[in-house]
């Protein structure tokens, strides 16, 4: 089995990594339907879903405000145009990954979708409270794995949940990579000392969590049904070639979510 990882991000490829483009979404969904793609992993931008928006920040009258409420999880009816663009991009990206997850579920592939865990407050919005996620989580073979990234090395607890498709050993693989039993005390809300948003650093998963996810996903991919006669066309291979990254950078790169 030869496995290739495609970095699906706008910083890697401005056209075929830009999931806000309709054609890009259609291309990758078609590749999943054709069974050339065996798995997907990703956490769609949570900036418009974040609980941090519910906190006011002193001295910042124009701090990001709540754009989604439980009654309107896909965007409140009246917003600024800039906020609407943010919401639109967030919804498009979320829609793409949910559709990809469902398609992989239907073709027997593997998927993992990450998002901040469901908040305790009833008045806070979360994707885990949306009806479509409730339906997906009720399907056999789709599990919800909740954890605190702090136990895997993040500087704050950062409760996180994963939708895991056809990867029954994921929970165990993640536990194997847990590096501490105590939650960190840090808080990642508001501005940091450099003036940036504290949530920015949390966009990168801690290495241990990545290790656990990779192990769980690889095990699940190995269990997928095999069809040696099924081949990937050269056109698809050629298009994916520039997106198979081999060089390493130092940080994740700018956030293009909106």
């Amino acid at each position: 089995m030869q496995l290739f990882v495609i970095s699906l991000d706008v910083v890697i490829d401005a056209t075929w990594g830009d999931i806000s483009r309709q054609q890009t979404r259609e291309f990758w969904l078609a590749a999943i339907r054709a069974r050339w793609v065996v798995a997907i992993i990703g956490g769609p931008p949570c900036e418009t879903w974040s609980q941090a928006r519910e906190r006011s920040i002193e001295g910042h009258d124009f701090a990001p405000r709540v754009l989604r409420v439980p009654e309107h999880p896909w965007g409140v009816p009246s917003l600024r145009l800039k906020e609407l663009r943010q919401i639109r991009v967030g919804n498009d990206l979320m829609g793409f990954i949910l559709e990809a997850v469902v398609m992989l579920y239907c073709v027997g592939g593997v998927a993992a979708l990450e998002h901040p865990a469901e908040p305790a407050s009833e008045s806070s919005v979360s994707i885990w409270k949306t009806p479509i996620l409730a339906l997906l989580l009720s399907l056999p073979g789709i599990d919800l794995v909740s954890l605190a990234q702090g136990l895997w090395g993040a500087k704050s607890p950062k409760p996180t949940s994963f939708v895991v498709v056809n990867a029954p050993d994921m929970r165990q693989a993640l536990r194997n990579w847990q590096i501490t039993r105590e939650l960190p005390k840090g808080i990642s809300i508001g501005r940091d000392q450099a003036g940036g948003w504290s949530t920015a650093v949390l966009k990168e998963y801690p290495p241990s969590l990545n290790g656990g996810l990779a192990a769980g996903l690889l095990a699940a991919i190995g269990q997928c049904a095999q069809d040696p006669t099924h081949t990937v066309p050269a056109s698809f291979v050629a298009r994916c070639a520039p997106m198979l990254c081999t060089e390493y950078g130092e940080h994740i790169g700018p956030d293009f979510a909106g």
Partner: protein, 603 residues
């Protein structure tokens, strides 16, 4: 005096001309009394005359004909001066403002669309966004000009305006003839304004213009137009809903003064606000569509994989009040098309006009329609052509119909781009042997022949109902036949009947009403199940489906498996770093799967 305008009117063109000269004389004298010399050159000062009514043509010819003197002679103390005159442009503008009707505006828009269709209509050299932009600039602006006074109170007019605009929007999209785009999809893809929002914005801009020149506005007249003011009130409410999160504007219902202040003193800002409200409405609509679309798509995938316990949400749709039905089978249909399909499938009936042609050219007007379907549509609508061909009494075997391979081939070759081409040549003389009938002759004769034997109205009614059951026909044809009998039966014809003429006529009149046929009055409701629903309905479905856990099962189909070469998508990955997901995945792949559980850092 700068930028001044004086309006005047008169009963007839001659008086109007005299009044214009007098008014100009007075004004010029007044200027002179202040030691001012007005610039009477063309483009600087003009008398704008609109001649209407009796003598208008002669007046136009006199002043604007090829031998007309330039300018209007104005008698002053110092002699005669000529003032430049202009008529046509003003006339057009005034007519456009005063008489613009939705139907006229739509017809003009369609005409314009056809004229510049080569630029706009699926031009592959231009992107869809560019074409939509051209459409908005060149055509939509012309369409909405002067429509701010429309109230469109009738549902039928509103529907007409909406559908005609949406049809034009749709034509901008690729493969518009073959792809069934919904209205939401068309608006989403083209980025054009929803027709109702378009009119709202137009009215709000107009309101701003009225307030900015409030001193000279006849508010009494405007307030008397309650329909329009009611609409404007709702437009303001709409605008506030769009802007309440992005501006500090208060509710117009309680603080209208603030709004008036903006309209009166900050006209440019008002226009900006109106545009922003429109943009917000469009963005919200697109967002809603996008979310609905991925919900629909997900549910469709799950249904195809047999993962859902129940089918798509369904609703009951009441059959239309306009009845379409088969008299023999006593069946009611939702549409004329559905009824026609039934008549063909069950009774082998084809539309009568299909027996009037065997090529794609109309035998009467000689126009080439390129496909049988289009020619059929032409003959259904063009009474003159149809009747002319019917009178020739030359009927042929029906050509291939809509949906046939032949017609599809013709449509594909046509690609929807070529309009009907006029044909030239000798026209055949109008037929004289045949008769042009739009009713069912067989039923017509059968009813009359049987009526000769009936002795009472009840018997006659039973007989007509029997005929309806025996000869297959649609309700439309049957009714037309009864009405034809009603109109064509002469006194001599009715004199030989077993019932009186009055009874005969009243019987036919009564049976021409759909209420007399119970199967046509059934309030039939049809179960419609599909995924193209509003978002809240899809979400309700998801909740209900999620709760039915006892019906859960794995995917119905066994997955077919993946090849040896497999791709993993790492969405939103950012740049690669040491210790990221890909790093570990490749490392784990290079070692072995067996290592994955034994090398955890914690253990």
């Amino acid at each position: 005096m700068d930028d001044s305008c004086f309006c005047f009117a008169a009963e007839d063109p001659l008086t109007l001309e005299r009044k214009a000269a007098n008014l100009c004389g007075l004004l010029l004298q007044r200027c002179k009394s202040y030691a001012m010399t007005p610039n009477l050159q063309p483009g600087k000062t003009a008398v704008l005359l609109v001649f209407q009514g009796k003598g208008a043509a002669a007046a136009r010819k006199k002043h604007f004909g090829p031998t007309a003197d330039p300018g209007l002679p104005v008698l002053l103390e110092g002699g005669v001066q000529r003032v430049h005159m202009c008529i046509w442009v003003v006339s057009c503008i005034i007519e456009e403002i005063c008489d613009k009707k939705p139907a006229d505006a739509t017809a003009s828009l369609k005409g314009l669309f056809n004229n510049i269709g080569k630029i706009l209509y699926q031009n592959k050299q231009l992107s869809l966004q560019r074409r939509a932009e051209l459409f908005r600039t060149l055509m939509l602006s012309k369409y909405v000009y002067g429509c701010d006074s429309w109230t469109l109170m009738e549902q039928q007019t509103r529907h007409f305006v909406h559908t005609s605009l949406m049809k034009l929007y749709r034509r901008l999209l690729p493969h518009a003839y073959h792809t069934p785009y919904s209205d939401e999809e068309v608006l989403f893809l083209t980025g054009l304004s929803d027709p109702s929002d378009l009119f709202r914005q137009q009215r709000l801009r107009h309101l701003g213009a009225l307030y900015s020149c409030s001193d000279s506005v006849p508010w009494g007249l405007i307030n008397a137009d309650t329909e329009w003011t009611h609409l404007v009130r709702s437009d303001l409410e709409w605008m506030w809903h769009q802007l309440r999160s992005s501006s500090k504007l208060p509710d117009p219902q309680h603080h209208f003064g603030v709004w008036v202040g903006i309209m009166r003193d900050h006209r440019r800002y008002w226009k900006k606000l109106v545009r922003r409200a429109g943009d917000h409405a469009a963005a919200q609509r697109d967002n809603r569509f996008s979310v609905t679309q991925f919900h629909t798509s997900i549910l469709q995938h799950l249904q195809q994989a047999q993962c859902l316990g129940q089918g798509p949400p369904s609703d009951l749709r009441t059959l239309p009040t306009t009845p379409y039905g088969c008299m023999q089978c006593q069946k009611k249909f939702m549409s004329r098309g559905g009824c026609g399909a039934h008549m063909f499938r069950v009774h082998g009936h084809v539309h009568p006009v299909r027996r009037l042609f065997d090529t794609t050219q109309c035998g009467c007007c000689l126009r080439e329609f390129h496909s049988f379907g289009r020619l059929k549509a032409h003959l259904i609508r063009a009474d003159f052509c149809r009747h002319s061909l019917q009178r020739r009494n030359h009927y042929v075997a029906p050509a291939a119909g809509i949906g046939s391979t032949e017609n599809d081939r013709q449509e594909a070759a046509l690609d929807g781009l070529l309009p009907p081409l006029p044909g030239y040549g000798p026209h055949l003389p109008p037929g004289g042997q045949g008769i042009a009938l739009d009713y069912h002759l067989h039923i017509f004769e059968e009813i009359y022949m049987r009526m000769l034997d009936v002795t009472s109205t009840a018997e006659g009614e039973k007989m007509i109902r029997d005929v309806a059951q025996e000869i297959p026909a649609t309700w439309e044809d049957f009714r037309k036949t009864l009405q034809a009998l009603l109109h064509e039966a002469t006194t001599e014809d009715t004199a030989v009947l077993g019932i009186s003429a009055d009874d005969f006529y009243s019987l036919l009149r009564r049976l021409s009403l759909d209420t007399q046929w119970p199967f046509l009055c059934v309030e039939a409701e049809v179960q419609m199940a599909h995924w193209h629903r509003e978002l809240h309905l899809l979400e309700d479905y998801c909740i209900e489906e999620a709760q039915n856990t006892h019906q859960r099962r794995l995917c119905g189909e066994v997955p077919r498996g993946f090849g040896v070469v497999r791709y993993v998508l790492h969405a939103f990955s950012g740049r690669r770093r040491c210790g990221d997901f890909q790093f570990y995945l490749i490392v784990w792949q290079l070692t072995s799967l067996a290592c994955s559980c034994s090398s955890s850092p914690l253990t």
